[in-house]
């Protein structure tokens, strides 16, 4: 996966390492959370929570596992938000996940927005593997470890997710 310059073997993560982890992976955590929840404020809350837990718990992270740890904690917090009554009442049913490009001249804007919307609309289990495998570039083994499911389950969810996206992007109904 990622570079392994953050964690020292058998040492709780230090303040300096937390700063570096935030620089390296904070945006990954924020964007994955946003892709999951479709709400910027909640994605920022999740990112904040992840680093609060890192500072409070000071885990011993295996070198190379830092990003997985951060994404796993983020995913759990996203699930909490997703299940919350607030999220169900206020966010579901409204248009979610508007794209936030850094350049207004983004090519194929409508197609790309459609893809983002389609991934956001995937069933929860398929969306999670899609975000970890395709977006965060985790291997199937790493994705399986983050989600606590067998690798075969990751593959089958990816396959189902791809089929649903294909149908949707070809003009079908939402996945």
């Amino acid at each position: 996966m990622s570079d392994s310059s953050h964690a020292q073997v058998n040492q709780p993560v230090s303040d300096a390492q937390i700063e570096q982890l935030y620089l390296d992976y904070g945006t990954d955590v924020l964007r994955m959370s946003y892709s999951y929840l479709g709400n910027r404020q909640q994605a920022e809350d999740v990112t904040q929570d992840v680093f609060v837990r890192l500072m409070e718990n000071r885990p011993v992270l295996k070198p190379g596992s830092e990003k997985s740890w951060l994404l796993k904690v983020a995913l759990n917090r996203c699930r909490d938000h997703w299940r919350s009554s607030w999220h169900k009442r206020v966010l579901l049913g409204s248009k979610v996940l508007e794209i936030i490009p850094d350049d207004d001249q983004i090519d194929n804007r409508l197609e790309k927005e459609a893809l983002m919307q389609a991934v956001n609309a995937l069933p929860q289990a398929e969306k999670e593997v899609f975000l970890l495998f395709y977006y965060q570039n985790l291997s199937t083994q790493e994705t399986a470890a983050v989600l606590d499911v067998p690798e075969g389950t990751v593959s089958s969810r990816l396959s189902r997710g791809r089929a649903k996206l294909r149908d949707f992007l070809d003009g079908g109904e939402e996945p």
Partner: protein, 306 residues
């Protein structure tokens, strides 16, 4: 046409303006410095909703508190008379608090007794590498307290990220006592202090951890059940039938693996000391600590309730 496997490139471009700036990390630091208090980032609408909830709570409290102030019923500690032998007959009053679970309906509706978690994980304990899930019933098993198994040494919201072997929980507080349950092997169930009550925890699979060593279903579900209830099918309480069904359950279940899934039915196994254990049921499989296939059990159960 954009394809799904171009998602990373598309997402990086589409979300290029979404960057984790220093403000989020600073808020996290302030939250930690303030002792873990929630960040001051509640939106106006959420704040309003919270305020209205508090007003409602205070109003309800004003109605309820006067009743609580009425003189309490005096509590008298009692001791068992006689020579201390096990009583011959157990009555409802002898059972642990909140024991009664089984429905009297002919075809009982689904009733699960695994406690749900507030977060992403269910409320659990890890003792000697075995995972246990808190049950909703009984609500207090103080009357069945067995030997001490230790105290919670690790309290964490992310149990699967802890690779140690210390006694761990995400619901029982640090230093909370953990005990065996009288009449139950520790491989099947344990008890722990949670919010002032001694709650029952049943052995389950968690994060790929199911059986330890040469364990089988016989180690996880003790014999000697008093009644069995399978949702949507019925309840069996005839001792001979229960004994026969338990034999089939424990001798003919075939282990399918450590993964578990939720089921649409539940098998509740009640013991005469008030303890009730649960196995989730999906098709011909039972899920507890791992998944177990046993078509013969379901055939026999359907025959027993006819």
């Amino acid at each position: 046409m954009i394809r799904g496997d171009q998602f990373k490139q598309v997402a990086d471009e589409a979300l290029g303006g979404l960057v984790a700036g220093p403000a989020i990390l600073n808020r996290a630091k302030m939250q930690v410095a303030a002792g873990g208090q929630k960040k001051p980032a509640l939106s106006l609408r959420r704040g309003m909703a919270l305020a209205m909830s508090l007003v409602l709570l205070v109003s309800l409290g004003a109605l309820v508190i006067p009743q609580l102030n009425q003189p309490a019923i005096p509590v008298v500690d009692t001791l068992q008379s006689g020579n201390g032998q096990e009583e011959l007959f157990r009555t409802t009053a002898d059972l642990p608090r909140g024991s009664l679970v089984l429905s009297s309906e002919e075809k009982p509706a689904y009733k699960g007794i695994w406690e749900r978690g507030a977060g992403a994980n269910f409320p659990l304990l890890r003792v000697d590498g075995r995972f246990y899930r808190m049950l909703t019933h009984p609500q207090d098993v103080s009357a069945l307290t067995g030997a001490s198994l230790g105290q919670v040494a690790v309290f964490t919201d992310e149990p699967d990220l802890d690779t140690g072997s210390a006694l761990l929980s995400n619901v029982a507080a640090m230093n909370a006592g953990v005990y065996s349950v009288s009449g139950m092997p520790a491989a099947a169930a344990v008890a722990a202090e949670v919010n002032g009550r001694l709650r029952l925890f049943q052995r389950v699979a968690y994060a790929g951890n199911a059986l330890v060593g040469s364990e089988s279903l016989k180690d996880l579900i003790p014999r000697g059940a008093a009644a069995l209830q399978l949702s949507d099918v019925g309840t069996v309480s005839d001792p001979a039938q229960v004994s026969r069904l338990m034999d089939i359950l424990l001798s003919q279940s075939s282990y399918q693996g450590s993964s578990s899934r939720s089921g649409k039915q539940a098998l509740l196994i009640q013991y005469d000391n008030g303890v009730v254990l649960q196995l989730a049921v999906s098709g011909d499989s039972l899920m507890g600590s791992g998944t177990w296939a046993n078509p013969a059990f379901f055939t026999a159960f359907a025959e027993a309730v006819q």
